[in-house]
């Protein structure tokens, strides 16, 4: 088929993402990076960027390449750039991780790895944003897509700031060395990256996936619009406070901007909670599938993260416990949602790819037959339980306990990844139903060659 509605490279993005997610957790289990060393140590930066770029950003990009065209019923524009984007991101991430490891003193290459990363990673993100933004451009945008339109510029801002850091660390931007990037730009890099790019896009995706699979009414609600407006406006002071303050020489603006951002972000989250409750309560499907069940763990982690942030702000200990907060956001909310939705998206896309050609002509297995929900329930429970323990361990400054918790999340992740591989291989489908004549069993993570 020429204009396939199935995104060609999405499974490759997912496979790379899961590889980095598992890798980062292995490092955490063996005690590499925070909390064994400082939060800003190069070792920590290795783990952090394996999670945020390697796992979460590749996952989100891969998902959006599939999701955006379906959402607005338009083919992907510039589909040929999707693979180059992946290659740029992988090469750039490799350089970034290599550069950090070099900073940690483990080895020396004599190659300006961080400078390469500072070029390759933004290039990859710009390509991805070009394809997704170009597809969205001029289309009638339903609410979930409007969240993505905030996510994409946030992704670019995050990548740009990251590139500045990388070039600065590599010594290629001596002119900028005087500027205190760590105090001024690092919080923006983190907040816009996790909040604007990953969280906002994830919320947008959830607005479509949850009603779609639970058969809830998905007419646009006023509360959903408030989520968008409050969230989008909250990002502005976060992104602009520092540059405006230094431009106008009013550094005292930053704290009040932060208050505005937290307030608006809070409003956004409360209404998001209202919408989620609505979706679950008004679903037409009696039985909630494991993906939607497991997503509740992620939403709970989001509530916990917001509560923790407020508590840390109130007690003035944000700096001290930022590690625990970021861990909860990245592993509980974003990774939890990612894993739970992969558990549906991978079998669903696999089913379409394999059985699409015989649909309606021959009996096919159900999508649910590609996974074994009862067996996997325990792994999602274990995952969220261990994330909670891990966050608590970081708060209580118990690195030993944190490593044990990381071992638990790693084990659960590996079990879920195994299940996804089995789904791709159709191993859970009874043999007699597996391959009716005309079905196209997919490859593990590469597109079919035509």
């Amino acid at each position: 088929m020429m204009h396939s509605a199935l995104s060609r490279w999405t499974m490759s993005y997912f496979a790379a993402a899961l590889f980095f997610f598992v890798g980062a957790q292995v490092l955490m289990v063996v005690g590499y990076g925070f909390p064994s060393v400082a939060a800003e140590a190069p070792e920590t930066l290795v783990v952090v960027h394996m999670v945020t770029i390697g796992w979460l950003s590749l996952l989100m990009c891969g998902a959006l390449f599939q999701f955006v065209p379906v959402l607005i019923a338009r083919p992907l524009r510039g589909e040929g750039l999707v693979l180059p984007a992946l290659l740029c991101l992988l090469a750039g991430l490799g350089c970034l991780l290599g550069g950090f490891i070099e900073l940690s003193g483990a080895f020396e290459t004599g190659v300006p790895l961080l400078a390469f990363a500072g070029v390759l990673l933004p290039a990859g993100f710009v390509l991805a944003a070009y394809v997704l933004g170009g597809t969205l451009w001029g289309a009638r945008l339903p609410l979930p897509a409007r969240f993505v339109t905030v996510g994409l510029p946030s992704m670019l801002v995050t990548a740009l700031l990251g590139a500045l850091f990388a070039l600065l660390l590599s010594g290629y931007l001596p002119a900028l060395a005087e500027f205190d990037f760590r105090a001024q730009a690092l919080p923006v890099h983190i907040a816009i990256g996790l909040g604007g790019w990953l969280s906002f896009s994830a919320i947008g995706v959830s607005y479509r996936l949850l009603p779609m699979f639970m058969l809830s009414p998905d007419k646009e609600r006023r509360s959903s619009k408030i989520v968008w407006w409050a969230g989008a406006i909250a990002l502005l002071p976060v992104a602009l406070a520092t540059p405006l303050a230094s431009l106008f020489g009013t550094p005292d603006v930053a704290p009040s901007a932060r208050v505005v951002a937290v307030l608006l972000g809070g409003i956004s989250l409360v209404f998001y909670g209202v919408d989620l409750a609505f979706f679950y309560r008004h679903r037409k499907r009696r039985a909630v599938e494991l993906n939607s069940h497991a997503a509740k763990g992620a939403f709970l982690a989001l509530v916990l993260s917001a509560t923790l942030l407020l508590a840390l702000l109130a007690s003035g200990t944000v700096e001290q416990h930022a590690g625990a907060l970021l861990y909860l956001v990245a592993f509980g909310w974003l990774s939890g949602l990612g894993l739970s939705q992969l558990y549906k998206i991978v079998p669903f896309l696999t089913w379409l790819e394999c059985y699409g050609p015989v649909m309606g002509k021959k009996p096919t297995p159900r999508v649910q037959d590609l996974v074994a929900e009862p067996r996997d329930r325990i792994w999602f429970v274990a995952y969220f339980l261990c994330v909670t323990v891990g966050a608590a361990a970081l708060l209580a400054e118990q690195p030993g306990l944190f490593r044990i918790a990381a071992g638990g999340t790693l084990l659960a992740t590996l079990a879920i990844v195994t299940e996804l591989v089995l789904a791709r291989r159709l191993k859970n489908v009874p043999y007699a139903q597996r391959a009716p004549e005309g079905a196209l069993p997919p490859r593990l993570f590469l597109p079919r060659t035509h």
Partner: protein
């Protein structure tokens, strides 16, 4: 003893963009035993031959100029010239010339991908040229792709309530 044929001209209905299927079926329901239906249409309503054939009517069709057709459906028991053409399906891509749907499906309350599976099952059960109408929870991008790959034609639009209605003509 047989009454004269009941005459129904659906050309004004179709010219106004309306759906004549209801009017035709209403007319059929009012026919007396043994009475025939003389239908005037702006195209040769071949799929209707099939629908009414199942109700025991045999068609006689003749072109009356300007692309218009006169078709007389008579109860099959009556004496009838068997020369009626029941052959080539309408090849028009223009949906306004499509026959009324032989099947109507409401697939809104189904979990994905069931709406698509049921719709395609329905399409596969049609004979060439017949149409099927389906209500779907949303615009079905994956379905479009399958329809295209299988050589079927379709038109669709959003309904005011937010769901999507698709009319598919089997190729």
């Amino acid at each position: 003893m047989t009454q004269p044929d009941y005459e129904l001209d659906v050309r004004p209905i179709i010219a106004k963009g309306g759906e004549p299927f209801g009017a035709i079926m209403e007319a059929v329901a009012t026919l007396a035993p043994g009475q025939g239906l003389r239908l005037l249409a702006p195209f040769k309503p071949v799929p209707l031959f099939h629908v009414l054939g199942q109700r025991g009517f045999e068609p006689t069709a003749r072109e009356i100029g300007n692309g218009d057709w006169e078709v007389t459906f008579r109860p099959a028991t009556g004496e009838q010239n068997s020369g009626a053409e029941v052959s080539a399906p309408v090849q028009s891509v223009d949906p306004s010339t499509w026959p009324e749907p032989a099947v109507e499906l409401d697939n809104r309350g189904l979990e994905p991908p069931e709406p698509m599976v049921r719709t395609l099952e329905g399409v596969e059960a049609l004979t060439s040229g017949q149409t099927l109408a389906a209500l779907l929870p949303r615009e079905p991008l994956f379905l479009f792709e399958e329809l295209e790959a299988r050589g079927h034609l379709w038109r669709g639009s959003f309904e005011p309530e937010g769901h999507y209605r698709i009319l598919i003509r089997r190729g």
